[in-house]
Point group: C2
Chain length 152, copies 2
């Protein structure tokens, strides 16, 4: 399995993006961010906590929540809410949306087409959207064999 070491690129990107939101770079933030980059499987805060804690045992849950918030605010990760259970976090920052398999609980990224025109909505002039969210639910081809079964 390929586990990238913290790359200079992502470190600098992190420090820079944090700074430009008036936030400091810390060991915890760096570590949580890299934990997210290593396994791009839409973990919950709790899962991030468990993964990150193994290499940084003093890490607290509160810091994980704080850091995830910070990273979302910096535009380095996305918060994914396809279910009403715990939020999940996504380090894929390409524009995409999410498919939730109701059978196996996995979440799959779905890209937009190159030329995505306008959405077919009768949007009144008085409503000005800054964000559009599309989410799909259904089943993957074979949920029982899904490699992401209950984990993606």
């Amino acid at each position: 399995m390929k586990k990238d070491l913290p790359s200079a690129t992502s470190e600098q990107g992190l420090a820079h993006k944090l700074a430009s939101s008036g936030m400091r770079m810390t060991a915890q933030r760096e570590h949580v961010y890299h934990t997210l980059l290593q396994q791009t499987d839409h973990p919950t805060a709790d899962e991030v906590y468990l993964r990150a804690k193994s290499a940084m045992p003093e890490l607290s849950m509160a810091t994980v929540y704080n850091t995830l918030d910070a990273l979302v605010k910096c535009g380095l990760i996305k918060q994914v809410n396809v279910e009403r259970t715990a939020s999940r976090y996504c380090s894929n920052m390409n524009e995409h949306c999410h498919f939730f398999c109701e059978e196996c609980g996995s979440i799959h990224d779905v890209d937009f087409k190159k030329d995505k025109g306008e959405l077919p909505l009768k949007l009144p002039r008085n409503l000005v959207p800054t964000q559009v969210d599309i989410s799909l639910r259904g089943r993957c081809a074979d949920p029982l064999k899904c490699p992401n079964r209950n984990r993606n």
Copy 2:
């Protein structure tokens, strides 16, 4: 203000839809359903509880939750999750999506265009969606004057 009495139509629709999901018609369910029809403003479970309770004081919160679930399962109402706070409920069953104003907290229904083609997604063959959800966030023209300010 126009408050429709329980119409024969909606009562029968309710009884029938409940029955076809193997559920019984009860006074509580009827009352909660009509409470939802009377004010189509995306109330939370708690708000439904307060409104419904005034005319049926013995009503419990648990029953409101049970009933809302039942109505969602019967296809008589929709659960709306534009925020991670309490779910809201919508009795508009025309196909539509929701706009959430981050300024005033109001939720507005947005209809689809007649001919909504396909969504511009690169959907892999192995993912079969049964449901597509679009949600918008932004601001309404004048959130301060929004008639639905913090309540819609």
